[in-house]
Amino acid sequence: MPGLDDFTGQTPAWCPGCGNFSILRAFREAAVELGLEPHRFTIVSGIGQAAKFPHYLRCNTFNGLHGRTLPVATGIRLANHRMPVVAVAGDGDCYGEGGNHLIHAMRRNVNIKLFVHDNQIYGLTKGQASPTSMEGMKTKNQPFGVLSEQLNPLALAIALDCSFVARGSAGEPEHLKDLIKQAFRHKGFSLVDILQPCVTFNKVNTYAWYTRRTYHLEDDYFPMDRTAAFTKALEWGDRIPLGVIYRNDRPTYEQRFPVIQETSLVEKVFDPSKLEATLQEFY
């Protein structure tokens, strides 16, 4: 069985104290506990600090373009649905540049595990507002403060009947590890939004800011009631819920796509013998 060392990649180039470190640690531990093997899953990432994630692990990796993780991940899943596929993105990457792809990936319910490192700020480009930055936050590029409504990824996901919607926190790595494992075990598109302090650029949403507000969902919370889940997803401010906010048992896109029911595309051997008959259709 692979151990933590099997998931040790390059030395991270993140800032000291970055919330990404504890997410990386939680993911590695979850991978070991899930019995994953590095060559048997693929991480797709885009561009941003979070997108460097797969280089700091060891696994099959497609580190593509900013915002485009989910289309690449969808292509991989449709070509080879035996391959677990993880998408790692930041809030700018996934909720900004890739917003359209997120909407349609959730509609399709492709079995992709999406982990969004949500630090409510742009890190790589040095401190601009992101879609999840809170209204009023002043930055160099937003001198009047953020004027737009803050994006609520969980409410968006529930509105689209995303089949697994959860929030974790980099400040609670044990709880996060458990969410990652639950996401892996869920059959369907899974969004785990991870609150992640950016110690360099986000001076509002700090470790202390999150710690004062986050709480674990009550034991009797029932995540399969969509309306109640939507209400829960709207909670933000003084109290921020952590845990699996919503889940359903919708069949996955791969389960519903007739062509790949028996074998995955990558397993199919090309058979040119049908071509002669196909040519005849043009006569």
């Binding site: 990649g9 390059q10 093997e37 590095p38 060559h39 048997r40 693929t42 797709v44 561009i47 460097k52 797969p54 280089h55 060891r58 696994c59 099959n60 990796t61 497609f62 580190n63 593509g64 373009l65 485009r68 989910l70 289309p71 690449v72 991940a73 969808t74 292509g75 991989i76 899943r77 449709l78 070509a79 080879n80 035996r82 391959m83 359209n100 792809h101 909407i103 349609h104 796509f257 007739p258 062509v259 790949i260 074998t263 595309l265 990558v266 199919k268 090309f270 040119p272 049908k274 071509l275 002669e276 196909t278 040519l279 043009f282 006569y283």
Partner: protein, 572 residues
């Protein structure tokens, strides 16, 4: 014999169905057929036409003059009535058009009434019209009736019988009423294959073992997706309609990374959105085939019409430097083989391969005796299964003499397959150092070019190699130019060079086409764009400047007569 039938009407009146049926009847009868379409960007109303030319000798372009006009709207008679010669026939239904037209060629046939009387419903009026055309040209109905049986078999015997009766009634009526129909048909030969440009690209895609096609609908590329979607189950391919073109190309890259042949298709505006993904294919060395159907721009332009305006866009677009191939088929046959070659080279060199066509080629149907499946390349260049797992080590972007690194299928071995849009090392991980950057540019770009150029076929020569006048073209103008050369060759020493593999430009090793051009007195580059994009590219690569350039950019294809006239004016 060489006859042209034009079917005119509003969108939604069945113009295309009637045209398709006639084309099928003629190709199955063994005639050479050429069809093209002219339609507006609307679902109902407006005015469209479909033109079918058929002959006992090869035809490859639209001709001026209409022998038979089928008018489903008044507009058809007003616009084209004058193009029908006295010995031609223009058929229409005065009850449907609510107007009686007079003229030597006009023949009023009650399509709707005959359909109601003989088939039980006026819905089959178009079948009456097709039957009438058979009667006018003196063809028996056996082939049409067979096509009706095949077309409506799934709808039951009643529908087959009703449509057959409709065709019979139209045929009988025309034979009785057409006093001056003196069409002479040549002897029949074996049935020919009838195929359009987009179908040929779709067929070439199937025949290349493509497993994944993602696209966003956009004229004139949608026909490829339609064709492939109809073959999903039979061939086991996934056709995914993406939320946008950015997603479409990224999905194709994901599928290709995962180990299957993948493709996307679009038109200029959609391709503009894909450009970022094209660059990603270049950097990650992920094979992908892109069908690019040009239409007149800029922006939305004339969305259902034709232009060759995106050659330089396809060649120079995308940030950074990386190799690509661009094929520009001139016929459905070339489209079939070049789509296969695009898949082969994309995978062999791990590059994007673009098949550039246009609305005109996409929608035109040509006839052939057949396609030769033995000419297709079917090499699997991927490293998979045991061949992959028995390796001691693996590096996705290993530096090699050829520049081509092993393309492993993730999951088939314990080796990790890692790639990155950032500059990367041999393992696929992000780097910043200058030495690795230089090594990767050498590998990814420079080392691949010589072998890739060697794969490119020289232009196709029609006519004598020492001709005094040489026409040059690329892509969809092939057929029109070839007929123009035929028309002018009696009086002139004239030849043509057609480039269907446009990038990299072919070397002159096997055929010194540059020498041929240099010895000619007049060289004319003919393009369906305003600025002469190929001529500019050709000059920048070879230094050769054409003496004349002929451009058309109104969104309509040349007819043979128009092009011949234009060439004659230039060569004196």
């Amino acid at each position: 014999m060489d006859y042209t039938i034009r079917i005119g009407g509003e969108a939604g009146q069945g113009v295309q169905t009637v045209g398709d049926t006639l084309a099928k009847v003629f190709s199955r009868t063994g005639f050479h057929v050429f069809t093209h379409q002219d339609y507006e960007s609307r679902v109902r109303g407006g005015h469209n036409y479909y033109q079918v030319r058929f002959s006992d000798r090869p035809v490859s372009a639209p001709r001026q003059g209409i022998d038979i006009l089928i008018a489903f709207d008044n507009e058809s008679i007003l616009r084209y009535g004058g193009q029908v010669p006295d010995k031609g026939v223009a058929i229409y239904d005065s009850a449907a058009l609510k107007q009686v037209f007079s003229g030597p060629a006009l023949l009023d046939i009650p399509f709707s009434r005959l359909a109601s009387e003989h088939a039980g419903s006026s819905i089959m009026a178009n079948t009456v019209a097709v039957g009438a055309v058979m009667g006018i040209i003196g063809m028996e109905l056996d082939i049409l009736l067979a096509i009706i049986r095949e077309t409506f078999a799934s709808k039951g015997d009643e529908v087959v019988t009703a449509n057959s009766n409709a065709a019979l009634s139209g045929h009988l009526h025309a034979v009785k009423k057409c006093k001056r129909c003196d069409f002479t048909l040549a002897r029949h030969s074996p049935a020919r294959m009838l195929i359009s440009g987009t179908e040929a690209i779709g067929l070439g895609t199937l025949a290349s073992g493509c497993r994944f096609y993602a696209a966003y609908p956009m004229t004139p590329s949608t026909g490829i997706m339609n064709y492939l979607a109809g073959k999903e189950t039979e061939y086991g391919i996934v056709v995914e309609q993406a939320e946008d073109e950015i997603s479409a190309i990224n999905m194709a890259l994901g599928a290709s990374y995962a180990g299957v042949r993948a493709m996307t298709g679009t038109s200029g505006g959609g391709f503009a959105l894909m450009v970022e993904g094209l660059s990603l294919a270049g950097m990650t060395e992920t094979p992908v085939v892109i069908a690019l159907g040009q239409r007149p721009g800029p922006a939305t332009g004339l969305p259902t019409r034709t232009e060759q305006g995106d050659l330089l866009f396809a060649l120079f677009t995308a940030h950074g430097e990386f190799p690509r191939v661009i094929f520009a088929p001139g016929t459905p046959e070339q489209a079939f083989y070049l789509t296969n070659k695009a898949f082969d080279l994309a995978e062999k060199y791990q590059i994007p391969a673009i098949v550039i066509f246009d609305q005109y080629l996409g929608d035109t149907c040509w006839t052939y005796e057949g396609f030769d499946l033995k000419r297709l390349a079917h090499t699997d260049y991927r490293l998979r299964g045991e061949a992959f797992s028995r390796l001691d080590s693996y590096r996705r972007h290993a530096l090699t003499d050829s520049g081509v690194s092993p393309l492993g299928v993730p999951g088939d071995a314990i080796h990790l397959v890692v790639t990155d849009s950032d500059e990367h090392d041999e393992d696929g991980h992000i780097i910043e150092d200058a030495a690795t950057r230089n090594a990767m540019v050498e590998k990814r770009l420079k080392r691949k070019i010589p072998a890739l150029t060697g794969e490119i076929a020289p232009p196709e020569l029609t006519g004598p190699p020492d001709a005094g006048i040489v026409l040059v073209g690329w892509g969809s103008t092939f057929g029109i130019m070839r007929e123009a050369v035929g028309a002018l060759s009696a009086e002139h020493s004239i030849a043509m060079l057609h480039f269907s593999e446009v990038w990299p430009l072919p070397s002159t090793g096997s055929f010194d086409y540059l020498g041929m051009l240099k010895q000619a007195k007049k060289t004319l580059c003919i393009e369906q764009n305003a600025t002469g994009q190929f001529a500019r590219l050709f000059r920048s690569e070879t230094g050769f400047k054409f003496t004349e350039q002929i451009h058309r950019y109104d969104g309509r294809p040349f007819t043979v007569e128009e092009l011949t006239g234009e060439i004659s004016a230039r060569i004196g």
